[in-house]
Subunit: 339 residues, 2 copies
DNA sequence: GGTTAGCACTCTCGGGAGCAGAGTGCTAAA
DNA sequence: TTTAGCACTCTGCTCCCGAGAGTGCTAACC
């Protein structure tokens, strides 16, 4: 499963050339642009071998070669150089952490925007999951004569709020919140609503109005799994020749938007090496078999989230890895600081 | 500028047929499908007249007619039937208001989603603007030993939160928030940060740490103009024949995403009739001259927001108007209830 | 034996040519 | 005023051809 020196250099040249141009690459270009010191004919022989062993494909009998999924895989595993981000790119990413974000949701949206922008592909973030996030405290604040504001804070600094109807006097609201906070601290979010209900059920008669609303709020926070996934804008994909065909774009978009698919993949994966790379067929799901993704994990308190990039198979893996690695690091730091 | 009875019927038939099929429509189809009681030849004469007066266009010398922007305009002004939403459509919209939303931002995002879905075009919402939203109250809650949570509530029920560093004891935090709330209530959001600063500057020495952060938070809330515009996913547009050409889609997407454009149009417009319809060239901005938009205004407290639909010129205006009208109404109601 | 030049072969892509189909405009008759 | 008829126009499709790019193979070369 290993390749001799020269074959490896040819494969690398083909992959990099193809990543850059998007057009099948011929022996001529390789010989000219990548100084391997041999003639096109020799390159042709090597390419034929690489095709036999499955590292390269031919779109048709007689046009240049294109890396196969296996070829990309070998490239990212063995040949790919470690690219550094340009000053501009790292500045764009760092700026995320310099300006204070008001809440985690807008922060993660902003992360997605920056990832899409610097990678020129499609960025996404999967937020930490509820099952391992725990309750820290709840506050019930009087908001007007008939309204109160519920404010929930979790251990990783997520804040959720909700306006409810309430005519309960503010001292009693404070009492309830204090009691809930005291008893629920450390409980995981998926169990918090039930636990709150049992704590509050004796009070039901006195504060019936707000008890239901508080429990419903806690439940809805847990349920809002759907909102964990943030995906960037697909404008960048429109510039890629592989998405000239609207149908293909539609397929990918549908898959991503259907939301379940990407999330399932990301939550299922407990991966080995730091940024995970999924190339074409390596993706479980049919609908994204002709694109690639690069994603990594960041830790947020007791749990973790994912950040990644979706792009064509001929994506600039090296840069994608650099971006994802940097974000894994910075995001973990961010959540550690903001606990 | 008026049309005789039969010309009007022909124009209406052409517009509706074109909206439905997206293909240039010929005299034959009109005669067959729309019982006007005359032959294709007569229709042809009428169509020729309509072309002379600028209501119809011909893509090329000898193919069917297509409505011109002026034709669409006449159609929406004079000919368009008032469509009712189907049961499914109104149910989808009503469901927005039945399930309790946790915060205004996710609520508006959800509105955008539903609008896109029921219209099959691209929905958008422009939230109320800061200059006319006023401050209601602020709370500074202890969140952990070195953190505090700022919670800001505005008169229309918008809630913004932010975690800050703080080692100030909770009683004093309560004192500060109480003082701020008392003095700032009713102040418009664009002036609140400065006012807060002058209120707090005497305390600067004692609570230097948090004073700056509070002021910065208030300032950033005002600044977050950029987040006021919510735009749906453009997947629906991919299904339209007019966006088969990727370039066109790219143009529109870029214009929308650049954010300033759409917002400028919406904030500038103080329109006459309830749902405003902008057809093709009627749009000020070059980049959206070949699409149409239908949007309306909803009131939120002392200020207002916009909700609308972006689609091809041959969009189903009648349905778009129905959707927008319904939302103008419901959203105004929603913000009135949730003050 | 590995490397290279040469050459025949294959396949795509772009530009006509030709043809069916759809639709028009005009004319003349009802 | 309406309509039938007909010549005309323009598109879209298919087929065909030639140019160009690239390959695989063979035979010569170092």
């Amino acid at each position: 499963m290993t390749l001799d020196e020269r074959k490896a250099r040819v494969l690398r040249a083909v992959v990099e050339e193809y990543i850059e141009t998007g057009m099948p690459v011929g022996s001529r270009v390789i010989a000219k642009r990548y100084r391997l010191g041999v003639s096109p004919a020799t390159i042709r022989n090597e390419m034929a071998d690489l095709e036999d062993t499955g590292y390269l494909d031919k779109p048709h009998t007689s046009s240049g070669r294109v890396p196969s999924d296996r070829g990309y895989r070998f490239y990212v595993d063995e040949l790919m150089p470690k690219k550094k981000l340009t000053a501009d790119e790292s500045r764009a990413i760092e700026s995320l952490f310099r300006t204070k974000m008001r809440d985690v949701v807008s922060f993660l949206r902003e992360v997605v925007r920056v990832v899409s922008e610097t990678s020129h592909y499609l960025g996404f973030v999967l937020g930490p999951d509820c099952e391992s996030v725990t309750f820290r405290s709840i506050h019930i604040l009087p908001a007007s004569s008939e309204k109160a504001l519920l404010v929930l804070i979790t251990d990783i600094g997520f804040v959720e709020t909700c306006l409810i109807e309430s005519d309960v006097p503010s001292e009693e609201l404070a009492g309830i919140s204090e009691m809930l906070s005291r008893n629920l601290t450390g409980v995981t979010m998926d169990r918090v609503a039930d636990k709150a209900y049992s704590l509050l059920k004796e009070e039901t008669s006195r504060y019936a109005m707000i008890v239901d609303q508080v429990v419903e709020f806690l439940r809805s926070v847990t349920m809002s799994e759907g909102e964990r996934l943030y995906v960037g804008s697909p404008v960048n994909l429109l510039n890629l020749p592989e998405f000239r065909d609207v149908e293909r774009l539609k397929g990918v978009m549908a898959a991503i938007e259907s939301n379940g698919i990407l999330k399932a993949i990301l939550t299922r994966s407990h991966d080995e090496t730091s940024p995970t790379i999924r190339i074409g067929v390596e993706n479980e799901d049919e609908s994204i078999r002709d694109i690639s993704m690069v994603y990594g994990t960041f830790s947020a308190g007791s749990t973790e989230g994912k950040v990644g990039i979706l792009g064509p198979k001929r994506m600039d893996y090296s840069k994608a890895v650099a971006i994802v690695s940097m974000l894994e690091d910075r995001l973990s730091g961010y959540f550690a600081r903001n606990r």
